[in-house]
Amino acid sequence: MTVALGEADLPMIRSRRSSAVARGDRRPWTFYALAVVFTLYVAALYGPMICIYILSFQDIRGGLVFPMKGQSLHWFIDLFTQVRTGDVKGSFDRSIKLAALVTVITLVVSLMAGLAFRRRFFGDTVVFYLMIGSLVAPGLVLGLGIGLLFQWIGISPSWYTSALGAQLSWTLPFGVLVMFAVMSRFNSVWEEAARDLGATRWQTIRLVVIPVLAPGLVAVALFGFTLSYDEFARTLQTSGSLNTLPLEIWSMTLNVTSPSLYALGTVTTIVSFVIIGACIGAIIVINKRRGVRATGH
């Protein structure tokens, strides 16, 4: 999740590292102690996930625990061909569509909120705290409430209505907070310059604000997408009769006892990483094109 903030931090970290090397020929013992703590932390964080990925590549004899039995792509094929494992393809489809929808809405609303919150307006503090409130509210309870509300109103809950709303209550505050960080580096003198040169408000937004903010907007989009794609608690009671992918995986853990469950985990992780990689790549390309490092003349 922290990857989305990488845009500005990368050069900073890089310079810090190089200065440490230049300065210190002997590192203090605390460096090694903290390095051990960090290594353990990383192992605890990624170890279990890596176990799952490894176990998904077993052959037909494979079970749910180590030791590893053979190597093949059997369970990946099984995943997409066997009906008994569940509606993987359908739920994957829904999850991607829902995440795309959430991303677009988060992006648009966050941009508008970011632009609006540059100035004080009546009730701005209240709006801000309400937003943070929906971030800290327990997701399961919130989802339950939304589900109840939909039933009470008489609309049957489904992934593109109630689940969409429940997920937005989670992604919007995140998107807006990221947008605040992005906006802090936006100089409104660019807007003024555009106006001075005769641009209308819409032209200013289209030709100046959005392109200048593009790397930050990619980060917001990434947030929206990954948060939605992974969302479980709020979606559980709001998705109606058809499952999203996380819900499908969860229900599979209850009735599927083969490594195809692990294969599904591997596939979704790959999808996540491809999307994250694409976004970071986009940010790097944009920044490189803008020549963040001056070449002089």
């Binding site: 106006r195 040169l197 030709l207 020549g291």
Partner: protein, 368 residues
């Protein structure tokens, strides 16, 4: 463009943000078409606010702005035919030099070929052709300024407004770009209004210097008038180059006054003309620093019409073409003589020397 299209008239211009204090307080000014006008003053004196009001980025609280004979209240910058060059240039970071310059034409809906043709002509003018495809981050400060200038000029404004255009540059480049600004102004033949807090910049560039303090115009006029004949103590001190002697008039005689200060009395200053002051007045007298001649105390009295004040040298600074000698002529106030280098080194003084600071009668002026 009809003649006189770029003349500006400010009448009773006021701006207040809180309804209580006026940042700009009743400014009246006429700037003729094609003039280079500098607003000079410390930060917070309202000079940038005036600029932004002329540009149409802020609306006056009261008063009128007339450009080329028409009141521009409520008009957008493009309708006013003004263009602004922002302090840090505000170049669009995502656009190349060519696209930055062509921006104004793009928002007017010109085709790519059309606007690039115009941008290329403009780039030729400011010698940016070989940098056309660079992004602003890859330009030096001076190059960025030229892009900003070209971007503003392509709208064919009748008034170009420059907000501290040289402050982002280092000293050497500043002098160089100063000349470039003046050259561009002459080439474009339009009115330039330039805001600065550097007096050197203002007097080097401007046809008209407007000295401001706390939202009001203190003095405006040709650079030489403002520098050589400041109207009051504030202007004299802000522009520098003058010593200001203040005190209470003790005695008024035939072409001389005697001033007294809390720590010193009997300062007799000769005046070239009959002074219109009366005993008891508090007055300020200005003498140019380069009009002061330093004479050793034992070298005999200077000629009759001159003022001679005994002083001690407190510091000496070598400035290249002249030497800055600081004196304790008046207590608690700076008193400085600019002595031409050659003259100084014929018989150099040392810190602590006692001498006479003299100037001939016509050199002292009574300030308002």
């Amino acid at each position: 463009m009809r003649a006189g299209a770029g003349d500006i008239e400010l009448a009773g211009l006021c701006k207040s943000y809180d309804g209580v204090t006026n940042v700009v307080d009743g400014v009246n000014l006429r700037i003729p078409d094609g003039a280079y006008c500098c607003f000079l003053g410390p930060s917070g004196c309202g000079k940038t606010t005036i600029l932004r009001m002329i540009a149409g980025h802020e609306e006056p609280t009261a008063g009128e702005i007339v450009i080329g004979g028409g009141n521009v209240a409520g008009l957008a910058p493009v309708e006013r035919r003004t263009a602004m060059m922002f302090q840090s240039y505000a170049l669009f970071p995502h656009l190349t030099v060519r696209d930055n310059i062509a921006f104004a034409l793009r928002v007017r809906g010109q085709s790519k070929a059309e606007r690039y043709k115009a941008a290329d002509v403009m780039m030729e003018k400011v010698r940016l052709t070989e940098l056309a495809d660079r992004l602003p981050a890859n330009l030096s400060g001076g190059q960025q300024q030229r892009v900003a200038l070209a971007r503003a000029a392509i709208t064919e404004p009748r008034v170009l407004l420059l907000d501290e255009p040289l402050s982002a540059l280092d000293e050497q480049l500043r002098v160089q770009m100063r000349q470039e600004l003046r050259r561009m102004q002459r080439e474009l033949g339009i009115t330039f209004i330039h805001v600065t807090h550097t007096q050197l910049e203002a007097i080097a560039l401007a046809d008209i210097v407007v000295v401001m303090e706390k939202g009001k115009i203190k003095q405006s006029g040709p650079a030489r008038d403002v520098y050589a004949y400041p109207c009051d103590r504030y202007v004299a001190e802000f522009l520098g180059g003058q010593n200001v002697l203040s005190g209470k008039v003790e005695k008024v005689g035939d072409r001389f006054v005697v001033l007294s200060q809390p720590n010193r009395s009997g300062i007799q200053v000769r005046l070239g003309t009959e002074a219109r002051v009366v005993v008891g007045d508090r007055i300020d007298l200005a003498v140019r620093r380069d009009d002061i001649e330093l004479v050793r105390a034992d070298a005999g009295s200077p000629d009759d019409g001159a003022t001679a004040l005994p002083s001690r040298v407190t510091a000496i600074e070598y400035q290249g073409s002249f030497v800055k000698v600081m004196l304790d002529t008046v207590p608690d106030e700076d008193f400085v003589a600019y002595v031409p280098e050659r003259i100084f080194f014929r018989d150099p003084f040392n810190v602590g020397d006692v001498l006479l600071a003299t100037w001939s009668a016509g050199r002292a002026r009574v300030l308002a």
